[in-house]
């Protein structure tokens, strides 16, 4: 059991909003980064809010992710940290992205109170078109409170096993809370303890690992195995990849919304990779014809080699794809393999370097050996 505040809100989102309000009004933080409802039909966006009244529309756990907030928080702080304390409400995968970005030197983390929650998942952004999400919200909150898996989530959410955040200062025990009036905010760090000190809400003790968390974890595990088997992932081999990316229009939205892809200039935007007449010349000496512009697969395979070891499976890429290529499922599946190779869980331990920035002298002995033939 850890120190906790018990919130009154009738669902986790309202409890989260109350928490942010009391943190701001008590002066413990000077600002709050959270999702805010910006339109009548479930339009939500991240905002940095300094005024309690403006938190009226805050909806920290609204089940949509318009951007990976870990990436946003990195962009806010990459040049300089906050001078005064700011609370940031991040979902577990957003927090993991934030931690990965810290390892990639894209973050100044001082003065941030990190708040997260056990997460019921988010819906694809397109599910909210024309207010399409509003009717389903009560059922969603009920599922979360009972540790059930909500239907129709982002595929990578329905298969996410890391819905209990690593290392936040405060964690709202949303999953398996049992419902109204029993939502606990658990302090995980001294900073979290301090933040709870003297806040409204009966001081008490609670746990993040509820029975609901355990049962949801099992369901997610099963869903994960199934997703990797059944989602229309590429059939093995080149043909499968060609078919999978056949619709790709080359917009690179998948990369621009990816929190991990933080390079100022991506290799694939560098002048050296811009196709010139000579590019086509080279291709056509070897092949009967080539795609215009070329290098669709190079872009995706290249991104997999550069970042899959840090992919947090947030699902932003698939949601942003205008032609519905299930990029996130592919990246999550390949990422699971490359991460397992290095026994690495992205975003778990801020002290552990990303796999491609470190090495052991004694490892992977077979790589580099003479291993030819099939």
């Amino acid at each position: 059991m850890a120190k906790a505040a018990l919130m009154e809100g009738s669902n986790a989102d309202l409890a989260a909003r109350d928490l942010l309000k009391s943190l701001l009004s008590s002066g413990k933080v000077r600002g709050v980064m959270t999702l805010v409802e910006t339109g009548p039909a479930g339009e939500v966006n991240y905002e940095l809010v300094a005024d309690v009244a403006a938190l009226e529309n805050a909806t920290p756990l609204y089940p949509l992710m318009p951007a990976n907030a870990g990436g946003l928080l990195s962009r806010l702080t990459v040049l300089e940290g906050f001078e005064e304390p700011v609370a940031a409400f991040l979902r577990p995968c957003e927090l993991r992205a934030f931690v990965e970005l810290g390892k990639l030197h894209q973050v100044n983390a001082e003065n941030i109170l990190l708040i997260s929650a056990t997460c019921g998942g988010v819906y694809p952004l397109r599910a909210s078109l024309n207010g399409g999400l509003a009717d389903g919200l009560p059922a969603y909150w009920e599922a979360v409170a009972n540790g059930e898996a909500a239907e129709g989530l982002r595929p990578t959410c329905s298969a996410c096993e890391h819905f209990v955040p690593f290392g936040a200062d405060l964690v709202l025990a949303a999953v398996g809370s049992g419902g109204a009036g029993r939502l606990a905010v658990v302090a995980r760090t001294p900073r979290g303890d301090e933040a709870l000190e003297g806040l409204e809400g009966a001081a008490g003790e609670a746990e993040v690992e509820t029975a609901g968390v355990k049962s949801l974890r099992e369901k997610r595990g099963a869903a994960r195995a199934e997703l990797f088997e059944t989602e229309p992932l590429p059939a093995p081999g080149l043909e499968g990849l060609v078919a999978f990316f056949g619709r790709c229009v080359g917009c690179r939205s998948c990369r621009s919304v990816c929190p991990i892809c933080c390079c100022e200039i991506c290799y694939f935007d560098a002048a050296a990779t811009e196709p010139t007449p000579r590019t086509f010349d080279v291709h056509l000496k070897r092949k009967e014809g080539t795609r215009v512009p070329p290098d669709t697969l190079l872009f995706h395979l290249g991104r997999l080699t550069h970042m899959s070891a840090s992919c947090v499976g947030c699902g932003m890429c698939a949601d942003a794809c205008p032609v519905y290529v299930p990029v996130a499922t592919l990246f999550a599946k390949v990422g699971a393999e490359t991460q397992a190779l290095f026994e690495y869980v992205p975003g778990k331990d801020p002290e552990e370097e990303v796999p491609l920035q470190r090495f052991e002298e004694e490892e992977l002995a077979e790589v580099g050996e003479e291993r030819f033939g099939s």
């Binding site: 081999g237 080149l238 990849l241 795609r291 490892e363 992977l364 003479e370």
Partner: protein, 141 residues
């Protein structure tokens, strides 16, 4: 595969060990299949797997990356980084069902011209078995 198929292999060799070894093999007039065109880089760690992927996707039948043996990198640790990267690409190839015979990393010490010959011959043979890279016949790449 017929004897006639002569695979087209891109070699990416580090300047200090592997390229010197290839030089030595040449000076010693060792006979090996004329399949491998070598690009010299300062260290195997310069060979971003993306370069290898790029070559494979436009129809190279194989890419052979060579560096100094672990512990011998001129820049001390470059080849340990290379090893991690190529282990990762190998895993990606496995996961996607791509042909791992087409992308190889080997260590070739400067004094081992004979290893250059052995490795080029072995890769040539294994690619003869694998056949031409299907990327040659695929327009959408």
């Amino acid at each position: 595969m017929s004897e006639e198929f002569r695979p087209d292999i891109l070699g990416i060799f580090c300047r200090w060990c592997s390229y010197s070894a290839a030089d030595l093999a040449g000076v010693s007039r060792m006979k090996m299949p004329p399949t491998t065109k070598v690009v010299r880089v300062m260290c195997s760690s310069r060979a971003d797997p993306v370069f290898a992927l790029g070559a494979l996707l436009i129809g190279a039948d194989g890419v052979l990356v060579a560096g100094c043996a672990p512990g011998d990198c001129h820049y001390k640790t470059g080849n340990y980084q290379t090893r991690r990267r190529y282990a990762l690409v190998e895993k990606i190839f496995d996961t996607l069902g791509l042909d791992n015979r087409r992308l190889k990393l080997v260590w070739i010490p400067a004094s081992e011209g004979a290893k250059v010959k052995r490795v080029v011959t072995a890769m040539t043979e294994s690619l003869q078995e694998a056949g031409p890279n299907p990327t040659r016949a695929e327009m959408f790449i």
